[in-house]
């Protein structure tokens, strides 16, 4: 067997050698932009019907060795339409003038594990976001950079804290208790987007129902780890939004797939880029402070001796948020890259050093990264590519979000009298003005009996540090086994590993004010988490060119993946001598959590392109098994099919495509969901075990999503405008849910595959180039989408997935057959809470005191949209991105507390369009009274950049290629009624599915707006 393989390989090599020894000639050429006449600096030149390819050099020239006879040269460059020219035997110099491909219709889009097709033929609304759209404005994490840039995704930031922490929800509700974040794939390798708790729950006791020492929890304000990726290394991002596009990724793809391709080296002389950036962030919105006008007023709110304190402090009014966050937070970034090589070897390397301060003193996020990418031809048939990243992320996020002991700064403000100066006091009597750098021997005034903590002390003494080291290695092998004009046979393999360790340290010294309340002062918690995952796939692709220009591409492959996760936490209270080490605690607990998952899939796909590249048919499928399913050996099948047709048009329309696609994909149960656990514990050291409260169905299996998508893409106005219109319906069957059992079952909760939900949506994307000249260019893009989600069937009763605070005024998401998946309801006690009438929601009269459930709103926005504009004149460019969310609901616990205490800044004098705090508190037991509309307009990004004329730069340095300067801003301005009552309408307490829990603002990290100045040099 081995011999026959060797013979086959030898035959192929022989073919290659024979070709190389034939008569050849060299053609040289130039490639220019048809509008500007400037050289096109990248791309590929191939000979039609041959496997010869060379890169375009950075000066816009190429040189290619071709057979002696007449050849057809084909030039491709991203951003330009490809062009073919026939070169007769007599001609050895050629000039290509390429027209702009404004809408990247000729760029390829990944549609299979190992294949891609040109955008103009793609049957799905696959969104592509390029590098320049992605990194024009710096962001903490790649998902943040995607906000507002394509239709169909709801991207939210959990918190304003530096370092990331985002939620991406693709096309509505895809899961309730399962994973709802998309799958991330970097260069063909699945990477982890795990979220690992920091251990702050031990400080905040946000979730305390378990044991003497609380557990590490999802309310720890954790960062989802895709934030580790360096956005500067990304060449482009492709987004597969639902099952019809993502079926090829099988049982992990129901939430969509985000495919990240990294930058690769280019042949030519070495090129270098250096970028230096400086920035600052400022507090963009605040709760404000109520100033007290008289001792009586102060006494009325705070009781005790507050009136005397008001008089003693001469009625002062301190704005705590200004005093703590007023400074402005500096940021800087230094990055560079190098790239070069020849037709056989290409390399790309990059370096990133980034530091960003948070507006809460002593909070920050650092990101350091090194990357190396290498593409090497092995002979003429094989290309081997590797990419390696080493990433180092460090951050301190301070303290925010839910608590049960008043520890986060914002939790204290609402109870602190503004007439008292709570800033640290130095021995000389002066006050600390820079909270991050207090003087020696500083004393923090106690906020007792008003509040449980002093925010100035909390930010100065608290440590909540996280260090992540991550390595992602990807390898890719392409073997052109056979290449004839009719047949090509290619073997392609991808594989790689993703390993990271996350180290957390939370420390609060015994002198911290909020540490006193429990009698065991001082908290230290350390955590070590390690994730190791690897996956590999091998594919064979056979392309068969039929006569008449039709092409059939057949592929098949196997994918295997394995991942391990281990988290160890040591938690200590009552620290002896305030020591930081956990072993100095007298109350100590250790916790461990582990996961091991394996998955195996096979897939096959057939693509058929015919009718002069107008009709494209695709049929494919995947079979998957995973150890997370109750039956690990059971195989689940996910088929897909699609068709696209480019309608022959002329005149105003330059290209019109109608497309339809259908497919299925799955969403695996979480690790451990299938087990009914026996929990270990003890009675005075005697080991005992008890059955846990959650029992799983014996057949727990993946959720199954079936998506139908259809749309029209049109390019009109001589290629200057493009319209994409997409409608979809996706049904999710076997939705994983956790339902409450009758207590006599012996268990409290039951995990099962139950109901069916349906999402229907519409997406519109329009891009126009109204002006396109050599000097002035203007591109305007509008995106709009909406999604309706309905619970179809399968729910025996109305059901609240997570009733976080099940009180009337806050509301809960409630699933109910036939109703919206994201409806928020609250209990109205007829005649007692809310309006005094006793009419039930169905219109029938009820009795006084009867409790009825009323819908108070929708957790998901009605629609989202954005408007982006890029304007360039000569070398100057201005662009901005405006985003809109219409609808959605936020429950604001912070404002509820300000109102309840009587410290809202609008307690007495109303803001326009709102009742006063006093009026709000009078009705604050009414159902839904603490929920607010989350609509907003946001000026997400604005950038002004200028490229210094090369002649000027060359005067000083002949070797330079370009010098660009730019000023940019992020989250510059928000228009929203919500700003009057809360920090930011995008806030979210915990990353959860929109159908699982209401969006909460609960002692959130304050929001900021950021400005940056960047110098970008290429040489």
């Amino acid at each position: 067997m081995r011999t026959r393989f060797a013979v086959f390989t030898a035959a192929l090599l022989f073919l290659g050698t024979r070709f190389a020894s034939a008569q050849t000639r060299i053609i040289t050429g130039t490639v220019t932009d048809s509008v500007t006449n400037e050289g096109v600096t990248s791309g590929q030149v191939t000979v039609q019907g041959q496997v010869i390819a060379v890169g375009i050099k950075s000066d816009g020239t190429f040189s290619i060795t071709v057979p002696e006879r007449e050849v057809v040269l084909l030039v491709r460059s991203i951003g330009f339409k490809s062009k073919a020219l026939t070169v007769p035997t007599t001609q050895n110099a050629v000039q290509f003038r390429l027209a702009k491909d404004n809408f990247r219709l000729e760029a390829v889009v990944v549609t299979g594990q190992a294949t891609a097709v040109e955008r103009k033929n793609v049957a799905n609304a696959v969104a592509t976001v390029s590098a320049d759209q992605l990194v024009s404005t710096p962001t903490a994490s790649v998902e943040t950079a995607l906000q507002g840039k394509f239709a169909g995704a709801d991207i939210g930031q959990n918190n304003g804290a530096p370092g990331g922490g985002n939620i991406v929800r693709m096309r509505g509700v895809t899961s309730v208790i399962g994973t709802f974040q998309p799958l991330y794939v970097v260069d063909g390798v699945i990477v982890s987007n795990q979220e690992i708790g920091r251990g702050t729950n031990l400080l905040t006791r946000a979730y305390t129902s378990q044991g003497i020492i609380p557990t590490v929890d999802n309310q720890d304000n954790a960062i989802n780890r895709i934030a580790d990726i360096n956005p500067n290394d990304i060449e482009n991002v492709e987004v597969l939004k639902g099952a019809s596009a993502s079926a090829i990724y099988g049982s992990k793809a129901a939430n969509g797939v985000i495919l990240i391709s990294t930058k690769r080296g280019r042949s030519g002389a070495p090129q270098f880029t250096v970028m230096q950036r400086f920035g600052t962030s400022y507090l963009s919105n605040k709760y404000g402070t109520r100033c007290f006008k008289s001792a009586e007023e102060a006494q009325g709110v705070f009781g005790g001796n507050a009136g005397d304190l008001w008089t003693a402090n001469k009625g002062a009014c301190h704005d705590f948020e200004d005093e703590l966050y007023g400074g402005g937070a500096p940021a800087w970034e230094t990055s560079g890259s190098m790239s070069g090589g020849n037709d056989n070897s290409k390399y790309f390397g990059s370096l990133l050093l980034k530091h960003e301060n948070g507006i809460m003193p002593r909070t920050f996020a650092d990101k350091h990264g090194l990357r190396l990418g290498l593409d090497q031809n092995v002979g003429s048939k094989v290309i081997f590519s590797i990419g390696g990243d080493i990433l180092h992320n460090v951050n301190d996020r301070g303290l925010s979000n839910n608590e049960n002991n008043g520890s986060p700064p914002q939790a204290a403000y609402s109870s602190m009298p503004s007439f008292i100066d709570f800033r640290g006091q130095c021995p000389d009597g002066s006050r600390v003005t820079d909270p991050a750098n207090p003087c020696a021997n500083v004393v923090y005034p106690s906020t007792a009996p008003f509040a449980f903590s002093n925010p100035f002390q909390t930010v100065a003494l608290l440590l909540n540090k996280e260090v992540v080291w991550r390595e992602i290695m990807t390898g890719h092998l392409d073997y052109n086994m056979l290449s004839t004009p009719k047949n090509t046979l290619r073997f392609s393999a991808n594989g790689g590993g993703d390993i990271f360790t996350q180290k957390n340290a939370v420390y609060s010294p015994p002198e911290m004010q909020f540490e006193q309340t429990r009698g065991i002062p001082g908290t230290s918690a350390t955590g070590f988490g390690q994730s190791q995952s690897f996956n590999v796939n091998g594919n064979v692709v056979w392309t068969y060119n039929l006569s008449g220009g039709s092409r059939a591409t057949t592929q098949g492959g196997v994918q295997y993946e394995s991942s391990d996760f281990d988290r160890n936490n040591s938690l200590a209270n009552n620290l002896v001598g305030g020591q930081y080490n956990v072993q100095s605690g007298t109350v100590i607990a250790v916790q461990q959590y582990r996961e091991h998952t394996r998955g195996l899939g096979i897939f096959a796909q057939e693509e058929f392109l015919t009718l002069n590249e107008r009709l494209m048919l695709t049929l494919g499928g995947r079979a998957d098994k995973s150890s997370n399913n109750a039956h690990a050996e059971k195989i689940y099948y996910y088929p897909k099919a699609s068709v696209s047709y480019r309608v022959p048009v002329s005149g105003f329309f330059s290209d019109v495509k109608v497309r339809a696609a259908a497919g299925q994909s799955g969403n695996l149960p979480a690790y451990g969901q299938k087990f009914t656990e026996l929990r270990p514990a003890n009675i005075n050291g005697l080991p005992i075990s008890s059955i846990a409260t959650v029992v799983a169905d014996t057949g727990v299996r993946p959720e199954r999503q079936t998506e139908y998508e259809a749309g029209v893409d049109a390019t009109l106005w001589s290629g200057r405008a493009n319209l994409e219109l997409t409608g979809y319906q996706k049904q999710i069957k076997d939705l994983l849910l956790q339902k409450t059992l009758v207590p006599t079952a012996g268990f409290a909760q039951y995990v099962y595959n139950g109901p069916e939900i349906r999402n229907r949506g519409l997406e519109v994307a329009v891009s126009v180039f109204p002006v396109q000249t050599a000097r002035f260019n203007w591109n305007s893009r509008v995106m709009w989408f909406r999604n309706y989600c309905t619970v179809m069937s399968g729910l025996p009763d109305a059901f609240q997935p997570i009733a976080f605070f099940n009180f009337a005024q806050f509301g809960s998401t409630e699933l109910q057959n036939g109703k919206s998946c994201t409806q928020v309801t609250a209990n109205d006690t007829l005649g007692r809470l809310g309006p005094s009438d006793t009419i039930r929601p169905d219109g029938t009269p009820g009795e006084i005191g009867e409790v009825v459930s009323r819908k108070i709103g929708e957790n998901s926005p009605t629609w989202r949209g954005s408007l982006a504009n890029d304007l360039s004149y000569k070398r100057a460019k201005f662009s901005f991105l405006l985003e809109r969310q219409s609808g959605g609901l936020i429950t604001n616990f912070s404002r509820y507390t300000y109102d309840a205490v009587g410290t809202s800044d609008d307690e007495v004098v109303a803001q326009s369009g709102l009742p006063t705090g006093k009026q709000r508190v009078a009705s604050n037991s009414a159902y839904g009274s603490a929920t607010w509309d989350a609509s907003y307009w946001k000026l997400r990004e604005a950038t002004l950049s200028f490229e210094v004329p090369p002649s000027m730069v060359h005067k000083y340095w002949g070797g330079s290629r370009y010098l660009r300067l730019n000023v940019t801003g992020r989250n510059l301005y928000t228009w929203s009624k919500y700003l009057k009552v809360g920090y930011d309408p995008e806030v979210q307490q915990v990353a959860r599915s929109l159908a699982a829990e209401t969006t909460w603002e609960l002692w959130a990290y304050p929001p900021s707006r950021s400005f940056y100045f960047t110098i970008d040099l290429g040489f």
Partner: protein, 509 residues
């Protein structure tokens, strides 16, 4: 992959087909794809053929309480002392952090409120595990036959104890007699009070049969609180004591006396001799839920002070009053004499559980003596009853004996407080001795397992329990919890019929 290449080296067309075939083979070939639970053992370890150790730890689990689970008899103690204590007007829970619970605790606002039992879940979770232990005892490896019997007898006794804890509260509302065999089955029927008690007694008698065959020692280890009952013969004494407790609740006096004869009752032993829940600060263990060192939320009824008998005319009050209660003045170091909260004026807190690891009683010698006295009064054996009562009075209260034949000693009552119905009843000879017994039970079993409320119901005295505020309600028994009722197609009476209650304010403190 190489295998498919060789097949099709000559003919490219078949490559894809071959790839698929090869891949399918791979998919099927990677057998044993199962990945175990790396974070805990699973119930699968208890079904099928469990190990001796696995069954032992699960049996021990029936006595505990584990964070994140509902299993274990220790879970019920907080409810017995505090919540049943509130119904019996022994204790008040005035938690400042959860003010929204206060109005529903004492009044009838809302659909659910306090008339519904809240701790129904844990007993059934324990019964479920007891069933699994019972089954596992039959199939486990490495066990002697006697040890299997011992495990079964133990598991059934615990099941009886948990079911008794339920029916003591729901009474006429009834209860399910067992946990479901499988969690997805339809909810079990709600049996009547009589059926439930029959089930409890039969569990106890089945358990006795198993324990009799259980040999000299158990295959598992009892916690220190159960040290006196850690062999099948001694555990049978607990089983019989529990049967006596069940029978006296049903006023089955003769049966109760018969049970007591085989129980751990022993006048020669200390009053406190018995079975206890123990606690520790070891990680993974639990703390005593009734521990409240600073008087933050748990308080004692003022009635205890008013009714305490005196050791001599004009002398110091009952030792049980002085050792079990503390004034707020003493508790706060003189800072305050009383707390006014939610319309209550509080002057006393409990000091029965001075540390967070103080053991909590399940059953004790003192209780058995009083059950024997109660049974003897029921059967008219007053002299026998008086002897037991005097034993308790002397040992626990430091009080002088009562006379035989019994004449209430008014000189030992506190001046000016004999205006309640209970006090007036003391003058009636027919019920006077019973009154005296209920006094002893109230002070001996104070803030332990809610016996005052059960005794008040048993003897028709719910209306005599204090009601401090206008609108406060005394419930005779409780309804079945809402989450048990909600998914039932037809509602049993225990879900819909409001129990008898007394709401008219008698006196406002």
């Amino acid at each position: 992959m190489t295998s498919l290449l060789k097949i099709c080296a000559a003919r490219t067309k078949c490559v894809t087909v071959a790839a698929l075939v090869a891949s399918s083979l791979t998919l099927g070939a990677c057998s044993n794809f199962e990945s175990p639970d790396l974070n805990a053992a699973t119930t699968q370890d208890l079904t099928g053929t469990p190990t001796r150790l696995g069954i032992a730890t699960a049996a021990q689990g029936l006595l505990g309480s584990v964070p994140g689970t509902n299993v274990g008899v220790r879970n019920i103690f907080g409810n017995n002392a505090i919540t049943m204590g509130i119904h019996g007007r022994e204790a008040y829970n005035l938690d400042v952090s959860n003010p929204q619970n206060i109005p529903i605790l004492y009044t009838s606002v809302g659909g659910s409120g306090f008339k519904n039992l809240t701790t129904w879940t844990s007993p059934y979770a324990t019964m479920n595990q007891a069933n699994i232990v019972f089954k596992g005892a039959g199939t486990a490896t490495g066990l002697e036959d006697a040890e299997r019997e011992g495990l079964k007898g133990f598991a059934e006794t615990i099941k009886a104890l948990e079911l008794f804890y339920v029916i003591r509260q729901t009474d006429e509302s009834g209860a399910a007699v067992d946990a479901l065999e499988s969690p997805t089955m339809d909810p079990p029927p709600i049996a009547s009070k009589a059926e439930v008690y029959t089930a409890i007694l039969s569990y106890l008698d089945d358990a006795k049969t198993h324990l009799d065959a259980g040999g000299a020692s158990f295959s598992f280890t009892m916690p220190t609180g159960w040290a006196a009952f850690n062999t099948p013969p001694t555990f049978l004494q607990f089983n019989r004591a529990l049967r006596a407790w069940v029978n006296i609740t049903l006023l089955n006096y003769a049966d109760a006396l018969a049970d007591l004869n085989a129980s751990f009752l022993d006048p020669a032993k200390p009053m406190s001799f018995g079975a206890y829940h123990t606690y520790s600060t070891t990680p993974g263990d639990a703390l005593n839920p009734a521990f409240d060192p600073t008087g933050r939320q748990l308080y004692a009824s003022r009635e205890f002070a008013d009714s305490a008998q005196l050791k001599s005319p004009g002398g110091a009050p009952d030792d049980r009053f002085t050792t079990k209660l503390i004034t707020l003045n003493a508790l706060t170091g003189g800072a305050t004499d009383s707390v006014s909260r939610y319309g209550f004026n509080i002057r006393y807190a409990f000091k029965i559980y001075p540390t967070n690891t103080t053991p909590a009683v399940i059953m004790k010698n003192e209780q058995l003596l009083l059950i024997r006295a109660e049974a003897n009064i029921g059967l008219g054996n007053n002299s026998l009853a008086i002897a037991d009562i005097n034993l308790v009075r002397a040992a626990s209260g430091g009080l002088p004996p009562i006379s035989d034949p019994y004449v209430p000693n008014v000189a030992l009552k506190q001046p000016g407080v004999c205006s309640t119905a209970a006090c007036a009843a003391a003058a009636t000879p027919s019920t006077a001795l019973l009154e005296e017994l209920l006094y002893e039970k109230r002070y001996s079993l104070m803030y332990e397992n809610g016996d005052r409320w059960i005794d008040a119901r048993k003897y028709g005295r719910i209306q005599d329990l204090e009601r401090d505020r206008t609108g406060d309600i005394n419930w005779t028994y409780l309804m079945i919890p809402v989450n048990e009722c909600i998914s039932r197609a037809s509602q049993p009476a225990g879900c819909t019929v409001t129990p008898p209650f007394f709401a008219n304010p008698i006196a406002a403190y």
